[in-house]
Point group: C3
Chain length 349, copies 3
Amino acid sequence: MTRHFLNTQDWTRAELDAVLAQAARFKRSPAGDALKGKSIALVFFNPSLRTRTSFELGAFQLGGHAVVLQPGKDAWPIEFDLGTVMDGEAEEHIAEVARVLGRYVDMIGVRAFPKFVDWSLDRQDRVLQGFARHSPVPVINMETITHPCQELAHVMALQERFGTTDPGSSPGQALRGKKYVLTWTYHPKALNTAVANSALTIATRMGLDVTLLCPTPEYVLDERYMDWAAKNAAESGGTLQVSHDIDSAYSGADIVYAKSWGALPYFGNWEAEKPIRDRFRHFIVDEAKMAKTNDGVFSHCLPLRRNVKATDAVMDSPNCIAIDEAENRLHVQKAVMAALCAPELGAGG
Amino acid sequence: MTRHFLNTQDWTRAELDAVLAQAARFKRSPAGDALKGKSIALVFFNPSLRTRTSFELGAFQLGGHAVVLQPGKDAWPIEFDLGTVMDGEAEEHIAEVARVLGRYVDMIGVRAFPKFVDWSLDRQDRVLQGFARHSPVPVINMETITHPCQELAHVMALQERFGTTDPGSSPGQALRGKKYVLTWTYHPKALNTAVANSALTIATRMGLDVTLLCPTPEYVLDERYMDWAAKNAAESGGTLQVSHDIDSAYSGADIVYAKSWGALPYFGNWEAEKPIRDRFRHFIVDEAKMAKTNDGVFSHCLPLRRNVKATDAVMDSPNCIAIDEAENRLHVQKAVMAALCAPELGAGG
Amino acid sequence: MTRHFLNTQDWTRAELDAVLAQAARFKRSPAGDALKGKSIALVFFNPSLRTRTSFELGAFQLGGHAVVLQPGKDAWPIEFDLGTVMDGEAEEHIAEVARVLGRYVDMIGVRAFPKFVDWSLDRQDRVLQGFARHSPVPVINMETITHPCQELAHVMALQERFGTTDPGSSPGQALRGKKYVLTWTYHPKALNTAVANSALTIATRMGLDVTLLCPTPEYVLDERYMDWAAKNAAESGGTLQVSHDIDSAYSGADIVYAKSWGALPYFGNWEAEKPIRDRFRHFIVDEAKMAKTNDGVFSHCLPLRRNVKATDAVMDSPNCIAIDEAENRLHVQKAVMAALCAPELGAGG
C-alpha cells in the first residue's frame, strides 16, 4: 500500500523523530540529491505563501522539481464523489486526476481548506482522502482540516529553543513536562480549525502538559482531535486540559501557541457566531498576558494579523519563534519528501 | 524557416514514427540532457492539468526549464491582427510577444481554444498562427483547434496495446486494418472540436479503418479535417466513413475513442443547439455498447465527465487506456521538444 | 546592511558599469553557476511577461531557481503600514512576509505598480520600501515607481548600437553627447510614470543630452526624478531640457525613447485628464517624426500598443531596438542577481 503523509497520527513516534532529525540535518546542510530527477505536484485549492515557496524550494534543493497546480483556476474543477453523474461544474474526476498525476510525478501535495458550510462534510476531508485513495504515489497534506507539516515545523522550533535536535539524544525529552498553552484568538472571520487540531495533536504526542484555552465550550475542537489528544497524552506521559480562564492558562506557561478558529456549533452559520466571537477580542496575545508566563516562547503558524491576534510587541519580542517555525517548514518538508521518496536516507518508514 | 509542431499533418510519416520511437525510449529511460540549459515558454490562454504538468516535467527531466505564462491573467492581453490601431484591451502585439519570447526561450508552446462565437474566425487558428509567423523559435501546439500532442500520445497508447513500439519494426503495421470508432458523446456544454479533428487526422494517417460516429450530419467535422482524413486514408490504405448508427458503428470495433463537441452549424448559437444535443445523451459509452465491440479498447483525452461521456464501468475496465494515453503525453512531448531542439537525437526533421 | 537594487541612483557609476560589463559577458555565454543552489522569490502585485520570464530563466541559467508569488491572488494579501490593527483585508504583515521569505530565498524581486489614487502615497513606494526595510536578503525592484532593470537593459541596447560593451573601454564614452529624446505618447489609459522616471534618470547619468518632450508642463515628471536628472547631467557632463515642441525635440535626435504616462496634477482624477490627453494623440512616434532625427534609433520598454504609441513602420524599422532592449533584460538581471548574490564575479559592490 502506498505510504502517505496525511496526519502525524498515522506515523509512529520513531518515524516522526527520524523525520525531525533529518530536518535538522537539512537545516545545517540544505543541498542534496535525495530527490534527483524526481517531482512533486503541489495541488492548491487555496492560497499559499510559505507552503508553496518551501515545498517548491525544498524540491529544488534536493535535485527535484515541483509543479504548482490550482484546480478551478488554471486547471479543471474536480469531482470527488464516487458514482455521480458529472453534469455539474466539475470537468473531471479525482480518480483520473490522481492516477494521471501519479504517472507524471513521484508525490502529490494537496491543500484543500474546508468549504465552511457543513462541518459534517468538511470533517470527512474528502479532497485529501480522494487523492490518497486514488493516487499510486505518496500524498502529502499541505493543510486541509489538519496541517501536519506545520506540526513538525512547530515541534522543531520548540526543540531548537528548549533542547537539542542532535540525533543522538532524544529530542522528545526536552519538551516533556513543559506547560503548553494553545490559545484561541480573535479574528474578524471564522477560520479553519486545522492548525488548532494539529497543535493539540502534536503537543500531546510530544508529552507536553497541554492547556487548550478558548472562550467558551463551543470553541472546543472536534471530538476526533480531542480524542487523539487524550490518547496521545496518556501514551506520552503528558496531560490535556481545557480552560476558559486566561489568567490561569497563561500562568507559568513555557509555550504559548495562538490560533483563531470558528466555533463548530455555528459552522456555516457564521452570522450567528459573529457577535459571540466579537465579545472575545481580549484573547489577543499581548505583553501583559505573556508576563504571566515562565518567560514563555510565543509562536503562530502565520499568516498573522498584527494587533488582532498578537500585538506588535509580542511579535517583535525575542521570545517569538514564529519566523523560526516558518523557516522550519522548508526543512521538515524536505525530510518528509525524502522519507516518502528516498527512504534509504533513514528518515522514514 | 523555423520548424514548428502545429499539426501532425505538416510532418511526414517517417518523422512522426521517429518521434514515437523516441517517446518509447524516453518512457523506458526518462532522464536525459537533450534540453540541457534550454527553455520553453508555455503560453496558456486556457486551463490545463495534463499539458502543463507533462510539458513542465518533460523539460525538467531533459535538463531544461519551462516558464508558464497566462496572458490576460498574469501577463498582458495580446493583439493578433496586423495593422490595427491598438486602442482596445490588448496591451501588446503578437509581433513583439513572439519575438521577445524567442530571444529568451528555445521553444514556445501555445494553448488557445476557440472563442466559440464565429467558427469562420476560430478556424483560422490565429493565435497559434500568429506565434508561428512571428516567432524565431519553434512553436508547439498545446491544443487550439487541433491537439497534435494528444494524437501522438493516443497512437502511442494504441501501439502499446496492439503491437510494438520497437524502433526496429514498423509500429504502423500493428494498427493497420483495425476498426477505429471516433464517437461523439453528450456533454452539457458545447465543446471544442480540436481532439475530434485530431483523432480523425491521426487515425486515418495510421491506416486504421475509421468510423466517425455522430448523432446527425450536423455533427460532422469541418471540411478541412474531413479532407485531411480522406486524403490520409487513401494514402495509408485505411478507410473513412461517417455513421449515425450506434449499433453498426460499435459492432466489431477494436478501438473506441470518445469525445464531445459542438455542432459547427450552430457555432456560437449554442442555445439553438442545446435541445438537439440534449436528445443524444444515449451516446454515452457504456458496457452494453462496448459489448458489441471486438473486445475493444476505450480511450478519451481527458478531462472526462464520468457517467456523462462514459460510465464508471467503462472507465474502470482493464480495456480503458485513457490513463496510459495521458501518461504518454509526457513521453511524446519530450520527443517533440527534442526533435525541435536537439535533432541530433534522431527524432525529428 | 543588506545591499538592495531599488534604484540605479543608489549605485555608483562604477558599479553600474560593472553590471553592464557582466551582462555583456552573460549575453555571449549564457550558462553559469553563479546562483547554483540559490533562489529568488519573484513577488508580483501586477502582471508581467518579460520580467517574469527573464528573471525566471536568468535564475535557471545560472543554476538557481525562481519562485513566482502573486499576493492577493495565489498568496495572502499583505499589510505594509506599521502599527496598524489589521482588521481589514490583509492577512499578514510585510514584517513577517519579508522575514520568512528571507529565510527561504537568497533574493526577493518585487513588482508593485502605483495604485493611481493618490500620488503623495504612491511616491513613497511603500511596498518596495517595506520589503527593503524588513528583508534580510537583497531586494530587487522589478518595477514600482521606477524600473531600474529596464534602465540597464536600455543602456545596454544603446551601447550595443552606438559603441562598445568591451569591459576594457569605457562604454559611457560611446553615448556622451548623443541627443536623447524621451517623448511622451498617447495611450487610452493613464499609465505609470516609472519607466519615464527611469529613462530620465539613466540617460542623464550616462552623459546624454536629454530632452524630455511632453505635451504641456503638467506632464513633467515628479520633482524627485527631475532633481536626480539635473544632478546627474551636471555630474556626467550631459544636459537636460524640457520641451513641448515636437519638431525641435526630434530634430537631430540620435535616440528616441517613447513612453506614455498620466499627468501628475490629475493623479487619481483621470476623468479630468482624459480630454487633455486625448488632444495629444499626434505625439505618436511615426516615420515623419523619425525622419527629422539623425537616423536615430527608436526604443520602448514594451508592452507597446502599435499605431497608438508608435506606428507599425517605426516598430518594424531596422532602427527599432525595442526587441534588443527586451532581450537585454535577461542579461542585465542575471548580472544584478550575480552582483547581489555572488559578488566575487566582480560585477557588483
